[in-house]
């Protein structure tokens, strides 16, 4: 066999077992004989006296107990099931400890995750770029400033377009009203007085402009050439609409002020009129400003909305992680209980292993031999049948008493454990 192969030789369990079995059988035979002889000899000397028999049995029992304790091989054999059981329990314990280690490690990982999530929640306000959020650091201040500007401009637009559209579409100009041609403070009340439809028309037309401003913001959300085209078109439409309003107002003013030799009102006259441009600027330019401010504050709002969404997302993650931890803890508790149970079992088994095992079965074999020797001596040495019977029955009584006393009258009982008591 090559040296390498030799290293990898496996134990030959069978033959070893056979050998030890043969040895044990031989041992048992010789011991049995000794006990028989000892019983016979003592009985002969004591003339089968039951009191002496009792003492002898006690002596045999104590003697066997001592031998049993000292006999390492026997103890090894008797303790083998306990040692095996201890090994098995230890393996079980190791497995539980492994699982516990893994679970505890997962808990630590989840806890660390929660800590980092909490840090992220704090840090996202300070360094939003770190988390891929493209936002201003002070979105709130800018948002409220923008809002403070937007609200008055909105009122301005409401008033301006109500008045301008009323002037353009419904107003009958008299000479004394020319000073209020563009701006009419009573536009809404006048319109309502003329009919509720007129009132609704005048009251709602500014919202058409604001709707256009809202569309500008929506189109600018996705910055592509198409959205720029759309925004340009929107501005152009609003400009044309404004220009029509201005043209109509200007036309009405011209009609009243014209002399018989004045030329007919046309675009050229409109474009060269100061009022015309006044209307355009007071309306369209302010409308553009409104649109831009609106776009700006919407963006700011989304900015702190982004942070809010980010934080609420992290909060959800934390909740989930905490749920995970409680699940892991639920798993850990039974494992911990099992570990305690197994450790207790190991301590108990170790006590048995450290102590010694008294084998009833073995003892009974030798005890029977001794009793056989004693009884045989009585039978051999007493001719009188009566005396023999007397002795035998009293000795038998003593034997039964002895077995009961030591709790070995029950043959189902395999072995008694003498544990080391701390």
């Amino acid at each position: 066999m090559s040296p390498l192969r030799k290293i990898f030789t496996l134990k030959n369990k069978e033959s070893k077992k056979e050998n030890s079995k043969v040895n044990i059988e031989e041992d048992v035979k010789s011991i049995k004989l000794t006990f028989f002889e000892s019983g016979y000899g003592s009985s002969k000397q004591a003339e089968g006296d039951s009191r002496i028999f009792k003492a002898c049995l006690e002596n045999v029992y104590m003697d066997y107990k001592g031998k049993c304790r000292e006999n390492e091989n026997l103890q090894k054999e008797l303790k083998a099931p306990y040692i095996n059981e201890k090994g098995r329990v230890e393996t079980e314990l190791k497995k539980r400890k492994t699982a516990l280690g893994l679970l505890e490690e997962s808990i630590i990982n989840v806890e660390q995750k929660i800590i980092s999530l909490r840090n992220d929640m704090v840090e996202v306000r300070r360094v939003p770029e770190k988390f891929g959020l493209d936002v201003d650091k002070k979105p709130k201040a800018q948002f409220y400033l923008g809002l403070a500007v937007l609200i008055p401009i909105t009122f301005y637009l409401l008033v301006f377009y109500m008045s301008a559209s009323f002037s353009a579409f419904f107003k009958n100009f008299d000479t004394d009203e020319l000073s209020a041609a563009i701006f009419d403070g009573n536009a809404l009340t006048k319109a309502i007085r003329d009919g509720w439809l007129e009132g609704v028309f005048v009251a709602t037309i500014p919202f058409a402009f604001m709707g256009l401003g809202y569309l500008v913001h929506m189109f600018l959300k996705h910055k592509s050439w198409l959205s720029y085209v759309k925004v340009t078109l929107l501005f152009a439409i609003t400009f044309i609409f404004d220009a029509i309003l201005a043209y109509q107002i200007e036309n009405k003013i011209y009609e009243i002020q014209k002399t018989p030799d004045s030329p007919a009102f046309d675009l050229y006259i409109a474009f060269s009129s100061v009022e015309f441009w006044g209307i355009i600027f007071a309306g369209f330019v302010v409308y553009i400003i409104w649109g831009l401010v609106f776009d700006f504050i919407m963006k700011e709002y989304e900015n702190f909305d982004k942070i809010k969404t980010f934080i609420s997302g992290k909060r959800d993650d934390i909740k989930n992680s905490e749920l995970n931890i409680s699940k892991l803890i639920q798993k850990i508790n039974p494992i911990k209980e099992e570990i305690v149970g197994l450790e207790g079992k190991i301590v108990d088994l170790q006590r048995t292993i450290d102590g010694f095992v008294f084998s009833n079965k073995h003892y009974l074999t030798y005890h029977a031999e001794y009793v056989k020797g004693w009884f045989l001596a009585i039978a051999d040495n007493f001719d009188s049948l009566k005396r023999r019977e007397e002795l035998l029955s009293s000795c038998q009584e003593e034997e039964l008493k002895h077995l009961k006393e030591h709790d070995i009258d029950n043959e189902d009982y395999e072995g008694r454990l003498y544990k080391v008591v701390n």
Binding site: K6, I7, K11, T91, K94, K95, T98, G101, L102
Partner: protein, 130 residues
């Protein structure tokens, strides 16, 4: 279905990784690599390690015994440090696998020396057949 034998193997590997009381990342990676080699997914391995309520068993065949022990030796070298605890654990497993006690020292050293060189498993088996 993963056999009890294989489950036991992974538990032994895990115990080996833990025997120096310091579960190195490299050891963890190696554990998952071994699992991959034997067609065991990460989730399956986790469930093996987390549900230890099955009996352990030792492989029957000589080659399998050597392969499993060699895995343990490779695991010992995963963090490039061989502690006394790890040596003892390996010897213990060699005995448990049924090798002769007088050869244990030599056997564990043989496995460790080849594991250090990272000799592939099939080459180790070939060495034995020579």
């Amino acid at each position: 279905m993963i056999s009890t034998e294989l489950k036991s193997h992974f538990l032994r590997l895990y115990q080996m990784a833990f025997s120096d009381d310091n579960f190195d990342v490299l050891e963890m990676q190696m554990l998952y690599r071994f699992a991959e080699e034997r067609g065991v997914t990460k989730d399956q391995l986790d469930s093996i390690l987390l549900n230890p309520s099955h009996n352990t068993s030792v492989p029957e065949g000589l080659e399998e015994k050597i392969e499993y022990l060699y895995d343990l030796a490779l695991m010992i070298w995963a963090d490039n440090i061989v502690t006394e605890d790890e040596r003892i654990t390996l010897r213990k497993y060699c005995i448990k696998f049924g090798f002769l006690e007088e050869n244990i020292e030599e056997l564990s050293e043989f496995l460790l020396s080849h594991a250090k060189e990272q000799l592939p498993k099939h080459k180790l088996i070939e060495l034995l057949k020579e």
